[in-house]
């Protein structure tokens, strides 16, 4: 248990640092905020008054803690562009993006592990060589291109009005999200399959497998009962990293499929220099990345007794 609390502690610390960095990053450009509100020919006095009004000239740390306490209570300030509470804007769009990312993660886990084991089980021979090359090709198809191709497919098979109000009920949302999630997941699945296959084959060459054979195990039972548990360790860590990387892919896929999720909101806010929105989304995404890595650490610690020691 000591390991768990220690890890939880580092999780909170990292989140704290991330939010501080995100906040500081945006302090560097307050001037633009004011000019964007007042227009470029604002006089210095007006700028000073506006800054005073927005409380921009109080010491940085004071503003940070104030922002943090509001943030934790859900008040992320008002968007400069739309002048409506940021948290409302995000709350509206978060479920859509969450479905997309979680669906893609689910696909990655459910497809890559069985395929990886199957390929390791039947390694060697023409089929294996063919599948490895195919896997390499799928790995190289970037989500943006795959998204566009699948977007073409949605235009043909989904009725036009469907894509307008897909977010009404849950099942329509899931149905709509299948192709976008697939375009995110496919390259990740092939990477995970390659990693699991190589990791399994490496473990099968290890000495303890020879002991398993000497006890009467067949190749299949040795793989399942001995090699798999060792081989899955790097895969768990990779899936956590993939969950983080898929956030980026989802931002692009939202752009491709015109899904109004937080990804598209982020891009729009960057273009319109709407800092509070960008800052809130970045911190949200960072929390997802850090939490996923934390879960992976816990899972690895649960599987591998040696890690439990330190």
């Amino acid at each position: 248990m000591k390991y768990f609390t220690k890890k939880l502690f580092t999780l909170i610390i990292t989140l704290f640092i991330v939010s501080l960095l995100a906040f500081l990053a945006f302090q560097v450009i307050p001037a633009d905020v004011v000019t964007s509100r007042l227009g470029t020919n604002a006089t210095p006095e007006q700028i000073a008054i506006m800054k005073e009004q927005m409380g921009l000239n109080r010491p940085v740390f004071v503003r940070y803690f104030e922002w943090l306490s509001n943030f934790l209570q859900g008040d992320m300030g008002n968007s400069y562009v739309y002048d409506m509470p940021v948290n409302e804007m995000i709350a509206q769009k978060l479920p859509i993006s969450a479905t997309l990312i979680l669906l893609a993660c689910a696909m990655t886990v459910t497809f890559s592990i069985p395929i990886g084991i199957f390929l390791a089980r039947h390694a060697g021979g023409i089929f294996d060589r063919f599948m490895t090359v195919l896997n390499q090709v799928f790995m190289s198809i970037p989500p943006v291109f795959l998204g566009i191709l699948l977007f073409g497919v949605t235009l043909t098979i989904y009725p036009p009005e469907f894509s307008l109000h897909y977010s009404e009920n849950f099942w329509m949302l899931i149905l709509f999200m299948i192709l976008p999630a697939l375009s995110i997941a496919i390259s990740r699945i092939s990477m995970t399959v390659k990693l699991l296959r190589t990791s399994l084959l490496d473990e099968m060459d290890k000495n303890y497998i020879k002991t398993a054979y000497s006890r009467g195990h067949s190749r299949g039972s040795a793989l399942r009962q001995h090699a798999l548990k060792n081989a899955i360790l790097p895969v768990v860590v990779f899936i956590a990293v993939s969950a983080a990387e898929m956030v980026v892919a989802s931002i692009i896929i939202e752009q491709v499929f015109a899904i109004s999720g937080i990804g598209r909101l982020l891009i729009a806010s960057i273009a319109s220099r709407d800092f509070l929105v960008v800052q809130a989304i970045v911190v949200l995404l960072a929390t997802w990345v850090v939490t996923v890595n934390f879960l992976a650490d816990i899972l690895v610690q649960y599987i591998d007794p040696r890690v439990r020691l330190d």
């Binding site: 990292t14 640092i17 995100a22 990053a25 945006f26 560097v28 450009i29 060589r129 090359v133 390499q136 090709v137 790995m139 190289s140 198809i141 970037p142 989500p143 943006v144 291109f145 566009i148 191709l149 977007f151 073409g152 235009l155 000495n207 020879k210 990293v241 983080a244 990387e245 956030v247 980026v248 931002i251 692009i252 752009q255 491709v256 982020l266 891009i267 960057i270 273009a271 220099r273 800092f275 960008v278 970045v282 995404l285 960072a286 990345v289 850090v290 890595n293």
Partner: protein, 288 residues
């Protein structure tokens, strides 16, 4: 040659290092170098000669399908897609090369110094590198775009900085591993100074680890540039890049699907070439 590994009873294939790549049937390396070689050749050629100038519009030939005249067909303004794709690919490759150069050179420097001397700097720098690599590079890049603005040079700077940690970590790991191997102790006993040990003794062995990282770096750089330009935060209007063209091509998906497909194919080929090269190199390291 075959050497029967006496203890474990299975035979071990021993080959002779980098030179063995070419005779050995390292399929990945061969395919990778063929694809990358062809692409790089085409791109270099395109700087000198192109069937059409990328900006020359031909009002009569808008959105023509691929034909002998226009290998990839023409776009909505009648420009030859093949020429534009080649120019875009050139830009993307240029950006990727600069990004990898920045990341590799500075990363190797930081990695070898922290790996060799260790101590407080090593711990702090490695913590920083770990936290940066934990975040997807494009996400951080999006934030940095707001600080440094958009455009070709900004994106090179941003991605370059973001690629330093991955190189630094790989080099540091390798240098730290070698630091307490016996041949380094012997070198010290012979009176070799720190600089001589790092550059003459440690780095030659690190190249074999660095090569796959470089090709995977290219792979990620191309991917990142394409994504950012597609989102409109990368390369800006007068300059062309595959990512940006992809965004344009998407709106003609139904009327001219070949437009997006050809752009996408070139990106896939680039990434495939580099990733296979990287795979071939790391497999070669594993066998010797």
């Amino acid at each position: 040659m075959i050497e029967v590994d006496e203890e474990s009873g299975n035979f071990a294939m021993k080959n002779k290092g980098i030179s063995s790549i070419f005779q050995g049937k390292n399929v990945f390396f061969r395919i990778g170098s063929v694809i990358t070689g062809a692409l790089v050749f085409l791109i270099c050629l395109s700087t000198v000669w192109l069937p059409y100038s990328p900006t020359q519009m031909d009002a009569t030939a808008k959105l023509n399908a691929p034909s002998f005249l226009h290998l990839f067909g023409t776009d909505h303004l009648g420009r030859d897609i093949f020429s534009r794709v080649m120019e875009g690919a050139g830009n993307t490759l240029l950006i990727a090369t600069c990004v990898v150069l920045i990341g590799c050179i500075i990363g190797t420097l930081i990695g070898s110094l922290t790996g060799y001397f260790g101590g407080m700097a090593d711990i702090v720098l490695m913590r920083v590198c770990d936290s940066i690599t934990a975040f997807p590079s494009v996400l951080l890049a999006l934030v940095m775009v707001m600080l440094l603005g958009r455009g070709k040079y900004q994106i090179i700077l941003i991605l370059g900085i973001l690629f330093i940690p991955s190189f630094a970590r790989v080099v540091r790991g390798e240098v730290a591993r070698q630091r307490n191997l016996n041949y380094i102790y012997s070198a010290k006993l012979m009176g070799a100074g720190h600089a001589r040990i790092i550059f003459y003794h440690i780095l030659p062995n690190t190249i074999s680890v660095l090569l796959p990282t470089i090709s995977i770096g290219f792979n990620n750089a191309v991917l990142a540039e394409a994504s950012m330009s597609y989102l409109g935060v990368g390369v800006q209007k007068p300059d062309t890049s595959l990512g940006g063209m992809l965004a344009e091509a998407q709106s003609y998906l139904t009327s001219a699907p070949y437009y997006a497909i050809f752009i996408g194919l070139v990106i896939v080929l680039m990434i495939l070439g580099f990733s296979m090269l990287g795979e071939g190199l790391s497999r070669n390291n594993a066998t010797n």
